[in-house]
């Protein structure tokens, strides 16, 4: 693994080194965020064991599918950038934003129809986990919104598109978190 650069001096002018550092830095950020989500997940099982209030399974399945699809569109956008198709990429990212917003709206709908209150322990962990995750989705949406003007202006080239990579990786990360949270909240049910 090219983890050292023994032949060159360490400066910030070295594009390859900068890219490697940024990539590794983003991964460290993900590790760090994993602990945050992991503690929330642990709190869910600590407080309520495997008990859960009934949730609307159709809404849960729908928003999960939507979020997974949005990861596909985000990835397609990144591939389009890599192939030099800026315009296609911007449409893929618009699709990602739409799907992300649909997910966000789905969570809001689930909140509005929840029959349990946030004072109930399951309600506490449910609202805290989905809320924290939704905030991350929202920040991802803001990043995509900031990204699209750059894509339209043609700022990214097939060899130089770190900002796109970073935002798409972040989006995948948020998606993976949901892949863990979804079963922990919707599918785990207490045994009577």
């Amino acid at each position: 693994m090219a983890i050292t650069f023994p032949e060159t001096h360490a400066t910030h002018d070295d594009a390859a080194r900068m890219l490697a550092m940024r990539r590794a830095g983003l991964w460290l950020f993900f590790f760090s965020e994993t602990i945050l989500f992991g503690l929330l997940l642990a709190a869910r099982f600590f407080l309520t064991g495997i008990e859960a209030e009934p949730l609307d399974q159709e809404v849960g399945l729908a928003i999960t599918v939507i979020l997974l699809l949005s990861s596909v569109t985000a990835f397609s956008g990144e591939v389009a950038i890599r192939k030099g198709r800026q315009k296609a990429a911007s449409w893929w990212f618009v699709a990602t934003i739409v799907l992300g917003f649909l997910f966000f709206a789905g969570v809001a709908y689930e909140w509005s129809i929840a029959h349990f209150s946030r004072e109930n322990p399951f309600g506490t962990v449910f609202f805290a986990m989905t809320g924290t995750h939704a905030l991350h989705v929202l920040s991802g949406l803001v990043m995509f919104l900031l990204l699209i003007p750059h894509v339209i202006k043609g700022k990214f080239t097939p060899t130089n598109y770190w900002a796109v990579q970073a935002v798409v990786m972040y989006w995948h990360f948020v998606d993976v978190v949901w892949v863990i949270f979804y079963p922990a909240l919707y599918l785990v049910q207490g045994v009577d």
Binding site: A10, L28, F31
Partner: protein, 625 residues
């Protein structure tokens, strides 16, 4: 536009953000039909907006944020003292910003300790009410924890790590500046807590009290969560810097030991700091959003907080002490003029502490009512951590052994680290052992133990490093006599104060309480008097540092004759650290090895390989010295 990028710009934008946040909160609540005014929610949202405004105003917008919108960024270049009061990317400036800020916080928090000791000099209540005592005790705790977490890492880590590895700066210079400028809002929030009712919960903020106490708790939580962000982003930056920014030839086996300790510490800070932030965020949710993480009435569980809190706060003591060990070993090796003994074992010790540190937290909870089956494993794991710590001691003692010790002020402080921490470690065994801990839990024995490890370990190492790097940082030399007076005064004051403090602890004197049984009055009076003496020792330090910074004699580039890279450049170093890029050819601590050098600069010939293989076990050959 140029007003944005100064402290006044930051203050203006943060106030605007704060009121905007409060206004938006009230507006949205009014729109959805709630009572518009919810004070704690308004504080939280206002703070978030105000924090963003502060960062943007201090220079993040002009130097970073404009980039997000495709605008051109501009970085002002200022010389002189002004460069310390702006969003500066230079790691050396940031290091000194951290050091000065946290020295001030250290002295303030130390003054609070003096107030507590004045109250505790006699039984019953004299100068402080119980509420004032609680507030002062809590503030002392959290401010000192902040100093312990950030002064060495943020100060010496930022200053020395890039220099030691031969880099021109940290990996992410703007992120580095961001971590420092998150600190002033934290300080403002903490200093505002007394006017919001005063903290009651100590720095640990245990529920249920923290959920129901006054609103200063909200400020505390916001401050500590923000401070956690500093710690996490700083840790991330150090890891990437150490992996990617090393000079050519600086292999992992040739890293100075302080850099290794920072590497281990950075992982701990990156991966565990969330615990405190998540726990405090849960308290905020309980208070502001009416949730019930910790409200037992609704089915929550206060024990959850203790688990989450100690999941961070035990590794936090390793975040504090490991860089202290690193500095002590570094300084001991340079001043013993000997290769660092068992270099690889010391590195293994740091990595072992890093690995085990996250698996011992529940030893703080033996009396909390957690399940009994957890007691045994956590006791064994906690005691197992003395093994990697022992490796660090092995390295220190092996280096001192038969060394020609040059007893300057930094060396005296570094030796004191080893002495004090040994005592702190021995008393730790009684706290790790379940049967003795049941008796000693929450007594002054714990206070004494904790101060022996962190003050005696890390803070002494911080002073060692302050004197050690002072000529490098300022280009001037401190007064050696005053430095030694400071050392002996502080060392004796510290040891008497805290050694005696074990005794009332064993007698059952509760910590964090403003009163105690009359029978303990004589010993408390003694502790108070020696504590005042300890506090007075810092006056010598303040005088020496300020006086030497202004009119001390000009220092040489390498007054200590040390081999590591930071001493091979000028004092103070130029903007990008090295006039010519360094290349590393030998081990940093091969003192006395003929023909060996650590770093060379590029238009110099590379010397032939040293006799000893680089990075040989047990510190390599020590002959010829």
């Amino acid at each position: 536009m140029h007003a944005v990028g100064t402290i006044s710009g930051g203050v203006a934008l943060s106030l605007m953000g704060f009121y905007l946040g409060i206004g938006l909160t009230a507006l949205i609540r009014a729109l959805i039909g709630y009572d518009p005014w919810h004070q704690e929610l308004a504080i939280v949202i206002g703070f978030v907006f105000g924090l963003v405004g502060w960062l943007m105003g201090i220079g993040m917008w002009s130097q970073w944020g404009r980039e997000w919108f495709g605008l051109k960024t501009y970085t002002p270049h200022m010389g002189g003292w002004q460069r310390y009061f702006m969003f500066n990317h230079d790691h050396k400036v940031i290091g000194i910003q951290y050091l000065v800020t946290f020295s001030v916080i250290f002295l303030l928090a130390g003054f609070l300790a003096m107030l507590m000791r004045a109250e505790l000099a006699q039984a019953e209540s004299q100068i402080l009410t119980n509420a004032q005592f609680n507030s002062i005790m809590s503030l002392h705790g959290i401010m000192m924890v902040a100093v312990a977490v950030a002064a060495v890492i943020g100060g010496f880590g930022n200053y020395a790590v890039p220099l030691m590895i031969g880099a021109d700066d940290m990996a992410f210079p703007r992120l580095n500046a961001l971590t420092f400028w998150l600190v002033p809002p934290v300080a403002v929030l903490l200093l505002l807590t007394p006017v919001m009712g005063g903290l009651e919960t100590g720095w640990t903020a245990y529920p249920p009290l923290s959920v129901v106490t006054n609103q200063s708790q909200v400020l505390f939580n916001l401050a500590v969560i923000t401070f956690g962000l500093t710690s996490i982003l700083g840790g991330l930056n150090f890891i990437i810097t150490i992996i990617f920014m090393r000079a050519p030839g600086m292999t992992w086996g040739k890293l100075p030991i302080f850099v290794w300790s920072m590497f281990a510490t950075a992982w701990l800070a990156l991966l565990y700091t969330q615990g405190f932030a998540v726990g405090l965020a849960m308290i905020l949710l309980d208070r502001v959003a009416g949730m019930s993480f910790f409200r037992a009435v609704e089915g929550g569980d206060p024990l959850l907080y203790q688990h989450i809190f100690w999941f961070y706060s035990h590794p936090a003591v390793y975040i504090m002490i490991v860089p202290g060990f690193g500095l002590a070993l570094e300084i001991i090796s340079h001043f013993a003029r000997k290769p660092l003994f068992a270099y690889r074992y010391a590195v293994g010790g740091f990595l072992g502490i890093m690995g085990l540190g996250g698996a011992v937290w529940a030893h703080h909870m033996f009396t909390s009512g957690m399940p009994n089956f957890l007691h045994g494993p956590f006791m064994v794991l906690t005691e197992a951590i003395s093994i990697p710590t022992g490796l660090v001691f092995l390295a220190a003692l092996g280096t001192i052994w038969m060394g020609r010790l040059w007893l300057t002020t930094p060396m005296l402080f570094a030796l004191a680290v080893i002495f004090n921490f040994a005592l702190g470690g021995v008393t730790g065994i009684f706290l790790a052992d379940v049967p003795t801990d049941i008796h000693l839990h929450d007594t002054y024995f714990v206070v004494a133990h904790f101060h022996y490890t962190i003050v005696g370990g890390e803070i002494f190492a911080m002073f060692a490093a302050l004197y050690y790097f002072f000529p490098k940082m300022t280009g001037r030399m401190y007064n050696e006599t005053l430095g030694k007076i400071h050392f002996w005064w502080m060392f004796v004051g510290f040891n008497v104060t805290f050694f005696v403090m074990h005794w009332p602890g064993i007698q059952g004197m509760n910590r964090r309480i403003a009163d105690y049984p009359d029978s303990l009055e004589p010993v408390n009076l003694l502790i108070s008097l020696t504590a005042f003496a300890l506090g007075a020792s810092f006056l010598v330090f303040i005088y020496n540092i300020i006086n030497s910074w202004i009119r001390g004699p000009v220092a040489e580039d390498n007054p200590w004759g040390a081999r590591t890279l930071e001493w091979q450049t000028t004092s103070p170093p130029p903007l990008h650290n090295f006039p010519r890029p360094p290349r590393v050819v030998g081990h940093p601590y091969d003192y006395g090895v003929p023909d060996s050098v650590h770093g060379v600069f590029d238009d110099e010939p590379v010397p032939p390989p040293a006799h000893a293989p680089a990075g040989a076990p047990a510190g390599g050959g020590g002959g010829g010295g």
